[in-house]
Amino acid sequence: MVKIILRDKEYEVRPGMTLLSALMKIDILPESVIATREGELIEEDEILRDGETIKLVAVISGG
């Protein structure tokens, strides 16, 4: 499985799908996040691999 983390929430999706598909599956707007894999930015066509963790950084900031 692939772990996706946004702030303090964790989600799991099956490997083999694109980041875009994964975000749609967990109801997160692609426009509202940037995804990173081991510190590197990845884009929506990236295929997610089994066992990895994707960290999402929220775009909107308040302050």
């Binding site: 426009e31 940037i34 930015l41 884009e43 950084v57 775009v59 909107i60 900031s61 308040g62 302050g63």
Partner: protein
């Protein structure tokens, strides 16, 4: 997805521009865009002294970084608002103001940049939450008090230390959200005053927004790829803010219609230029210097800020 410039793997895809770039070329593209808008809107020249309002957030620190890379004379101004926001007596969480100040000072030190720091509590005797707690303006939430205080201090420092222009890190998403809110209520006065450049007037420094055409997502990508350490936590008082709600709505639109936010903002600027809104003369206010601080005000007697900090 491949970088349009070199064909290597793209780090950032901008659907709104039908453009994907690798890290190297993205970090060149963003400053080039900012330079383009500085020139297009005649924001400032390299001979002028710029004061950048920095909060420790990704946009203001990135703006400062970009101006430094482009060779502009840009000093920073950090305003310590005294907002803690930790959720328990044990200090769980982050002291928002302390952490944002730490990150701003670290950034300035690492880049060898000059940072002016103003502490609201030290200067005026109270933190923003305290000021908000006892003032009519701050009823419910400190945001209005915070905004008034920051604008007052930014202008005071720019004026007192001879800066030619004040720059803020407002990005396209900020501008589109404000525009959206003002359009929902047809607030003509505010719509007239929303622009990439607010020219200087007697007592008020020129104010510019060099990032006004850059998406918030683009600025986040810039900060992450540059390795800029910024405050990730939001201001604790931002929870439930209308501006954030509008940003979320506009993101849903953008998701379906890439480029919608930029089109909305640019069309507004064009319409304003062509005179769609009320003539400035029709709602011009008479300003006079506040007898206390000297900054311009339309109110009789003291300005809004001086009235707010004055204790009965």
């Amino acid at each position: 997805m491949k970088c349009r410039t070199c064909g290597r793997k793209a780090a950032v895809n901008m659907r709104q521009h039908k453009l994907a770039l690798c890290k190297e070329h993205y970090l060149e593209w963003v400053p080039a865009q900012v330079e383009r808008f500085i020139k297009k809107y005649r924001m400032f020249s390299r001979e002028e002294k710029i004061l950048v309002a920095v909060s420790g957030g990704k946009d203001s620190l990135s703006l400062w970084d970009i101006l430094h890379r482009l060779g502009y004379q840009a000093d920073g101004l950090y305003i310590c608002l005294g907002i803690d926001g930790r959720r328990s007596p044990l200090g769980e969480g982050v002291n928002y103001s302390a952490e944002s100040q730490r990150l701003t000072e670290k950034f300035a030190a690492e880049c060898g940049l000059k940072l002016n720091v103003v502490n609201v509590q030290q200067e005026y005797g109270e933190t923003i939450p305290e000021l908000a707690g006892r003032s009519q303006r701050g009823k419910g939430k400190p945001c209005s008090v915070c905004g008034l205080t920051k604008r007052h201090i930014m202008n005071r420092i720019a004026r007192d230390f001879g800066y030619d222009v004040l720059a803020t890190g407002h990005n396209l998403d900020d501008e589109a959200a404000v525009l959206f809110g003002n359009t929902l209520t047809w607030s003509g006065e505010y719509l007239l005053r929303q622009a990439p450049v607010l020219p200087a007037t007697p007592g008020l420094a020129r104010k510019v927004k060099p990032l006004c055409r850059l998406y918030e997502r683009e600025m986040l990508a810039y900060a992450l790829l540059r390795g800029i350490e910024y405050i990730y936590e939001e201001c604790p008082f931002a929870v439930g803010a209308t501006s954030i709600y509008y940003k979320e709505l506009l993101n849903k639109l953008e998701n379906e219609r890439p480029g919608a936010k930029l089109g909305f903002y640019l069309s507004f600027l064009e319409a304003r230029k062509k005179g769609l809104f009320a003539e400035p003369e029709a709602i011009q206010q008479e300003l006079h210097p506040c007898p206390d601080c000297g900054q311009p005000t339309s109110a009789p007697g003291l300005c809004s800020f001086c009235r707010m900090v004055k204790k009965d």
